[in-house]
Symmetry: C2
């Protein structure tokens, strides 16, 4: 039977009002590359995709679920986790969302105060949910930092009980290439050279399948 | 001599930290359609383009200036306004930006308060700058609202001393089509049916050129 992989991809958006939102520059290219690498390995894929210009086709072996916010992404993950052998959280989700979403576009004030204050609340943590509710699934996370990358990534790997984490510095966002460090549960570290996201994706998929097969045969 | 048109296009982004930003879903499709319609009318175009997946080619008659924030967009407009006969502000600029931009990615707090507060300050008003500093230029603005659209648009037309305003409801963002109302300085109103952004762009360019020629011959 085909190995089933659940992938999250792209950014999420958290609306302040019907027009403005908080997001990030994630292009969704890594998610798409992961989907393609998984399909090449004859896996079945479900991809939960935040809004980006990258298009992923719905096919017999690839189901695409479009979402906007982190909460929507979590709902789709909750519904589909049970079908997965491997979960790869490649989405750059928004950690925070506005506490209140204005019903109408907030008008620019022309009199009085020049400032407005937006209160943000923490979003649910998707990968934490997956780790708490996983059965036999292999769980792969991503870390993106502007400083202390490897140390933060190792902490995240441990705290979120991941099997592998892909550590990227922030230059990878929107870029065609990436030079991540793969850090494994068993302490192994694999630094990839600056290569295309397609090559990185192939590596991540192959490593994930490798871990899945090891667990399965235990 | 060719008529020169300065166009702003796409959204702008206002960074909270090196990863997160505030923006909107403007696709830049209207800006691109305006550029193409202007080039078909043998105009020379300078387009100041905020980040979006839409690509506009730099050619002999079309200079593309890429920008990120509203302040960057204003700087590019300031430098290029003097070359223009017509200014079309089609960009969906961010009205507000974070008062402070964090140097490093803000870490999600795992202890203590679940909320963070972002203080936003008003951005400079690009179309107001153009209206205050214009000489003979025709100035065309856009209005996008979720309620009281026509009334807000008429107020903006008057306050910003525009020659024409294109009033859209918020469903037009990211869409291929649009059904705007064109409102003119002389009080005329022209409601367009739901048509492609290419058709709307052609209409806007033709009307703008018409106004420019009328002014020129006065």
């Amino acid at each position: 039977m085909a190995i089933k992989i659940l992938i999250t991809s792209g950014p999420t958006r958290e609306y302040i009002d019907p027009v403005r939102f908080i997001s990030n520059a994630s292009s969704g290219k890594m998610g798409k590359a992961l989907v393609e690498a998984a399909l090449k390995q004859k896996c079945e894929v479900i991809v939960v995709k935040g809004p980006s210009a990258v298009e992923i086709k719905n096919t017999k072996n690839c189901k695409v679920i479009d979402v906007i916010s982190t909460k929507d992404m979590l709902s789709a993950v909750k519904e589909n986790l049970k079908f997965a052998d491997i979960f790869i959280g490649a989405a750059a989700v928004s950690d925070y969302r506005p506490a209140i979403v204005a019903k109408n576009k907030i008008k620019k004030k022309n009199v009085g105060s020049n400032t407005i204050t937006v209160k943000l609340v923490k979003n649910p943590d998707i990968i934490k949910y997956v780790s708490l509710h996983k059965k036999k699934q292999v769980v792969v996370g991503f870390a993106l930092e502007t400083k202390n990358l490897i140390s933060y990534a190792k902490t995240k790997l441990k705290e979120k009980k991941l099997d592998m984490i892909v550590a990227n510095d922030s230059s990878t966002i929107s870029s065609k290439n990436s030079a991540p460090t793969l850090i494994f549960k068993n302490g192994n570290i694999k630094k990839l050279n600056l290569v295309s996201k397609e090559k990185v994706a192939k590596e991540i998929i192959n490593e994930s399948i490798g871990i899945f097969k090891t667990i399965k045969t235990c």
